[in-house]
Symmetry: C2
Subunit: 345 residues, 2 copies
């Protein structure tokens, strides 16, 4: 595979740093790498044994770049994404800016890689809570259509960013030392607490994160009418989002059938021996690529119900890994610069 | 109200210590207080300005005692409970030993105080996750029968006991200092982690705690056929159990109606302005008596659905407070020594 040229926007953030590590691990064929940041401009990072200085984002940056990976704020994505796409790059964006746009594929490669074929220069990756849910639901949905999903999350602070991890750690130390705690990133103390608050709230009482989980899952699964209700909660964990999921299927399905379907699904690992204290946990999922599923059981409250517990590394499969997998898929399918896209730009 | 004589078994445990504080706060009319422990025998506690030495449990202890409050292990309750009841005491038990026995009332005073009338010397208090759920469901169920409940918990370590709080704190310090962590109370690290594991697991894949939430809620609400599915998860919080609840009612109900019903319900406080970052949290519920409910919204996945988030102090309403409220109810109704009970013993 011939090398390509990439730009990484948000290179020094929580996702950006993991992204660069995964780039190295997977030997992604990037000959030229440019790193961009805001507060970190001028600092140096080492990628593939090369020292790279973090630059400011300028329009010229995207001249002759194949992929632009953006993991910054939604505002940054909105400013940079269309610009980079117009210059001929394929933008792989980690924000919610374009996810629900009809002409932007929202892709989990193991689930809907074919959606990449219609791209017009921007591909979005789903929210870090949506991706593991979609990977769990997809194999079940193919065998036994999913009717309704209830999901409650246990989300780590790294989903908010590196500053939130620092805040949790420093607050924890203060609590242990009996010192006062001043919330900054979050509206309340996160150390030794639980916040049912991820992103802003809408008039229907759901948070934006909760609505993302519903809308994005429907788009990825091509199930526009799927009933989903989520409660998203931040808990004091550094890395790894957990989810308690309750699914209503069209027909009854045994836990064994569910385990078999999941075990045969790429990117999913079944970890399910609760009597042996074996189940997915954030501390085990951190640094791993797969979505881990356990506590699989018949939902006693519904004849066609299945209940499970899933955990994945929100910085990897929930963000950086998924972005790189999309780029790999684009390269292997020869979709980087399609004639269709050229005519669109 | 004339004073009575009480014995507290498990006086120095996590629940016991809070229990004694509540006893003082509420000026419970206990003239004579005997405290029992196991490892703490010989140590002294101060209750109502009196210094009381912790004794070993002996059969003689229960001679001429009106109430025996037990908060120890299920084994201790099984050994002591029937003995104390035979001696004429009313046992108020915090363990799961007798909860599902047909002749043992399982009581949340705000919900089913009338069940106390049939007591035969032992009254159980529900599991600390069940009590807040029952207090949330009861006012809704009276207006609009509840058909199905899905609940996922975010439980604090004090529910396991004082040693678990110490373990979480010392593990947290080790993680912050980059030192290794040795799990002891829990099978895995609890600091900065989430364990979908509360109590043992049964063959149906549910944990005992999850099954308790279903069975006990049905008994308290007198709804033997209510469909309930729970996932119980331990998170690194010291005090305060949180629950994400999804309810299917018989008819649609607006969030406003739900708020009104809850606000009119004793022991429940509605804390619900998410856009103002106002919702129940463990750090606010700790040390408080009420069950706090917020994030009340229509469940978008079901026409008759309501979703909410509730938090309560598992040591107070979940344990010690509920026990004392039962004793107060027994005294005010003159149920301490009923003729019916006397003939049974």
């Amino acid at each position: 595979m011939s090398g390509c040229s990439i730009a990484v926007v948000g290179a020094t953030g929580a996702v950006g740093r993991v992204f660069l590590r995964i780039l190295e691990e997977r030997r992604f064929p990037a000959d030229r790498i440019r790193l961009c940041g805001r507060r970190s401009v001028g600092t140096a990072l080492t990628v593939n044994d090369r020292r790279i200085i973090v630059e400011e984002v300028t329009p010229e940056l995207f001249d002759d770049v194949d992929f632009v990976f953006i993991s910054a704020t939604t505002e940054v994505s909105r400013q940079i994404g269309p610009l980079a796409a117009r210059k001929g790059a394929l933008v792989i964006d980690d924000s919610s800016a374009f996810r629900m746009d009809a002409d932007v594929p929202l892709v989990v490669p193991e689930v809907n890689a074919d959606d990449l074929c219609g791209h017009r220069g921007i591909v979005s990756i789903p929210n870090c809570s949506t991706t593991p849910l979609a990977m769990f639901l997809n194999p079940l949905n193919r065998l036994n259509p999913v009717r309704r999903v209830i999901v409650d999350t246990y989300q780590s602070v790294s989903g908010t960013g590196a500053a939130a991890v620092d805040e949790m750690m420093s607050q924890s130390r203060n609590v242990l030392d009996g010192l006062p705690v001043e919330p900054d990133v979050y509206p309340h103390r996160i150390a030794f607490n639980a916040l049912p608050h991820v992103d802003d709230f809408g008039v229907n009482g759901y948070s934006t994160e909760e609505m993302k989980m519903a809308r994005e899952t429907r788009k990825i699964l091509h199930e526009p009418d799927l009933a989903i209700s989520a409660t998203c909660v931040r808990i004091p964990v550094a890395v790894g989002h957990s989810e308690a999921v309750h699914v209503e299927l069209t027909r009854p399905m045994s836990p064994e059938e569910v385990r078999d379907a999941l075990a045969a699904s790429p990117g999913v690992t079944v970890v399910d021996d609760p009597q042996g204290a074996v189940y997915p946990m954030p501390i085990h999922a951190e640094g791993k690529d797969d979505v881990f599923v356990g506590r699989i059981r018949r939902d006693l409250s519904h004849p066609n119900g299945i209940t499970a517990w899933l955990v994945s590394d929100n910085l990897r499969k929930g963000a950086g890994l998924n972005a790189i997998q999309i780029a790999e898929e684009v390269l292997s399918r020869g979709l980087l610069k399609t004639p269709g896209r050229r005519t669109q730009l």
